[in-house]
């Protein structure tokens, strides 16, 4: 009991108010996705033309779409595909990117040069374009989109891991371990990787957000998740509803995307140890005299 409490306290301290809020929101979305059949009030694909564009009511919490499907349930089920895709992308990118980055940072020299060049090259191609090309090859679907984005996200994460690992590599403690005869694998995995874990996890959370945006964009274009599967990106593409003025059907999934990505970026930044932006920090009180004497340019006007 006590340990739960102290873990909670430590978490609270590490993440801060904004981080905790983000975490809570993400846990809620994740639970909704996992438990969708239990949580959703209706079958997301059950249409009833009588309910077409029904407004919010007891039966349809957020109303229904153009063919009478329950919007709320579709949002809940939509969380599944919307989260699964980016999770796969980040998973693959980490699985491939971390070993490559560690290898490059440990050996340096030409190994590092080659790896860095390849990363730069892939980084030069926009992920969205790569995904669109892949879809052109293999036809639309979540799998080709995920594969393409995974490739595109490898350099994003690997460059960060490489930079962080390089910094560790040149620290005296690594030399000390090497002198003691510890092997490369043991030092990189047990020491370097462990020390850079916060940065990697934080940046992975941020990458998750970006991947979510990219995949939702592709689904919106009809290139990844296909209608009628409920998916946030697909739901935003319901231009029929939009042009008829039923904005809730389109904006509700849009807002969910924005909130989820926002939560991921805030949480990611806190985990990687970035300072919260100024407005969340307590500032020293200003005295009249300090006001008068301050000479920093920033205080102009």
């Amino acid at each position: 009991m006590n340990s739960v409490k102290s873990t909670w306290k430590r978490l609270n301290k590490a993440l801060g108010r904004s981080g905790m809020l983000s975490l809570a929101f993400l846990v809620a979305v994740l639970l909704a996705a996992v438990l969708a059949p239990l949580v959703a009030p209706a079958d997301p694909n059950q249409s009833s033309l009588l309910d077409a564009y029904a407004g919010p009511s007891g039966t349809h919490l957020l109303g229904a779409d153009g063919i009478g499907r329950d919007l709320f349930s579709r949002l809940i089920f939509g969380a599944r595909t919307s989260l699964l895709g980016p999770a796969l992308v980040v998973g693959v990118a980490l699985f491939v990117g971390i070993p490559l980055a560690l290898l490059a940072s440990w050996y340096g020299g030409w190994v590092d040069g080659v790896v860095a060049r390849v990363f730069d090259l892939v980084y030069a191609l926009p992920g969205l374009l790569l995904a669109v090309l892949t879809v052109a090859l293999f036809g639309p679907g979540l799998t080709p989109a995920v594969v393409a984005l995974s490739v595109a996200y490898i350099p994003f994460l690997a460059r960060i891991v490489r930079a962080a690992a390089r910094q560790q590599r040149v620290s005296p403690y690594v030399d000390a371990l090497a002198v003691q005869g510890f092997g490369v694998l043991r030092i990189t995995v047990r020491h370097i990787l462990r020390n850079i874990t916060p940065v990697v996890v934080g940046q992975a959370a941020i990458a998750f957000g970006y991947a979510l945006l990219d995949l939702a964009s592709l689904s919106y274009l009809g290139l990844a998740v296909q209608a009628p599967t409920p998916d946030w990106g697909v739901m935003v593409s319901d231009s029929d509803a939009m042009l008829k003025g039923y904005w809730l059907q389109v904006l509700a999934p849009g807002v969910l995307i924005v909130l989820t990505v926002l939560a991921l970026t805030v949480l990611g930044a806190r985990i990687s140890g970035e300072k919260p932006p100024g407005y969340l920090r307590r500032r020293p009180p200003k005295t009249v005299a300090a006001e008068k004497n301050r000479t920093t340019v920033g205080a102009a006007a």
């Binding site: 307590r282 020293p284 009180p285 200003k286 005295t287 005299a289 300090a290 004497n293 301050r294 000479t295 920093t296 920033g298 205080a299």
Partner: protein
């Protein structure tokens, strides 16, 4: 007696802390400087010597507050409006910073840095300003000054960059130069050279100088009078000669003891025990008492005042006794 160039009275600097409190960094500093005089300000880091210079130029961190008075040629610096402050900073006072690498804009050429104030503030034509800059560069001992004007800061050495910084201050021909540890960031071999140049050119131009250093010997070499600071207060203010021969405050004695003497084969350097404290860390008594080998119970509870002693000022309750004991021991 001429009117003083610079006059500090009860100068105190407090800084607001993150948790809403405030800390005293500088506690009631009184100083006067005659035109053309050089005064050394000596102390360890945190003693408040840099803060004093910042207060004189009103270049304090945003959270800091200065109270008391700073008068430059009779004018209250802390009360100056923006325009007067700029005029004062432009031609009244010049500041040589410790680290020229950080204090000179790396993206602009040395020439642009040197003439910036002349062109911007005094509307000197560019061509003439550059000619003047080249002349001063030559005076601070830089060869081929015309070429240097076209170089970027990262293309020259740290020692040369500090000469550039000194040249920039000399170009403005201020009545007062503030030198904030001007040689600390430099190689030992170059230090004396740079200080020598600064000292010579200042004398030639009759500029006053406040020279800040943690190196007491260096201060004694360039300055007529030296103030030793500890924990945000002046603890001893003497002429260089008397301080050198008859230092009175235990802290100053400690500073003199912790430097290697060339003439004596010292068995061991005597270090001052403990670590230096800041003004806000000192208790109600003498701030130096916890580290002082002469301290009594009274020292821990009653703060000493800066009192006249041997032609100068010393802040120590036991100064007479210590002096007597030392004279006896030496005799």
């Amino acid at each position: 007696m001429t009117a003083p160039l610079l006059e500090l009275a009860g100068l105190t600097v407090d800084i607001a802390t993150e948790d809403g409190g405030s800390r005293t960094l500088l506690d009631g500093v009184d100083l006067t400087l005659a035109p053309g005089e050089a005064l050394g300000l000596v102390g360890e880091s945190g003693s408040g010597k840099s803060m004093t210079v910042r207060a004189i130029t009103r270049l304090l961190p945003r959270a800091a507050t200065a109270t008391g008075t700073v008068r430059f040629e009779g004018e209250d610096v802390l009360a100056m409006d923006a325009g007067t402050l700029r005029t004062y900073r432009d031609g009244g006072v010049g500041l040589v910073f410790q680290d020229p690498r950080a204090h000179i804009n790396p993206t602009r050429k040395i020439g642009a840095f040197l003439i910036e104030a002349l062109v911007g503030n005094r509307k000197v034509p560019r061509r003439e300003a550059l000619a003047r800059a080249a002349k001063v560069l030559a005076e601070v001992g830089i060869d081929d000054p015309e070429r240097r004007l076209g170089q970027y800061p990262h293309e020259v050495s740290g020692g040369m960059l500090q000469r550039v910084m000194i040249a920039s201050v000399l170009l403005a021909e201020p009545r007062l130069i503030l030198a904030d540890e001007p040689t600390t960031a430099l190689d030992v071999t170059i230090q004396r050279e740079v200080v020598g140049i600064l000292d010579r050119l200042r004398r030639e131009r009759g500029m006053g100088m406040v020279f800040i250093t943690h190196d007491l010997d260096l201060a004694l070499a360039v300055c007529g009078r030296v103030a030793v600071m500890y924990a945000g207060r002046i603890v001893e203010l003497r002429t260089a000669d008397t301080l050198h021969e008859r230092a009175a405050h235990p802290y100053t004695l400690g500073l003199l003891g912790s430097r290697p003497a060339i003439d004596a084969r010292a068995e061991r350097l005597t270090a001052i025990p403990g670590r230096p404290v800041s003004a806000f860390e000192s208790g109600e008594g003498c701030a130096f008492a916890p580290r002082c080998s002469f301290a009594t119970e009274q020292c821990e509870t009653t703060p000493p005042t800066l009192a006249r002693f041997d032609g100068g000022l010393v802040r120590c309750s036991r100064v007479e006794e210590i002096h007597a004991a030392r004279t006896e021991a030496n005799a």
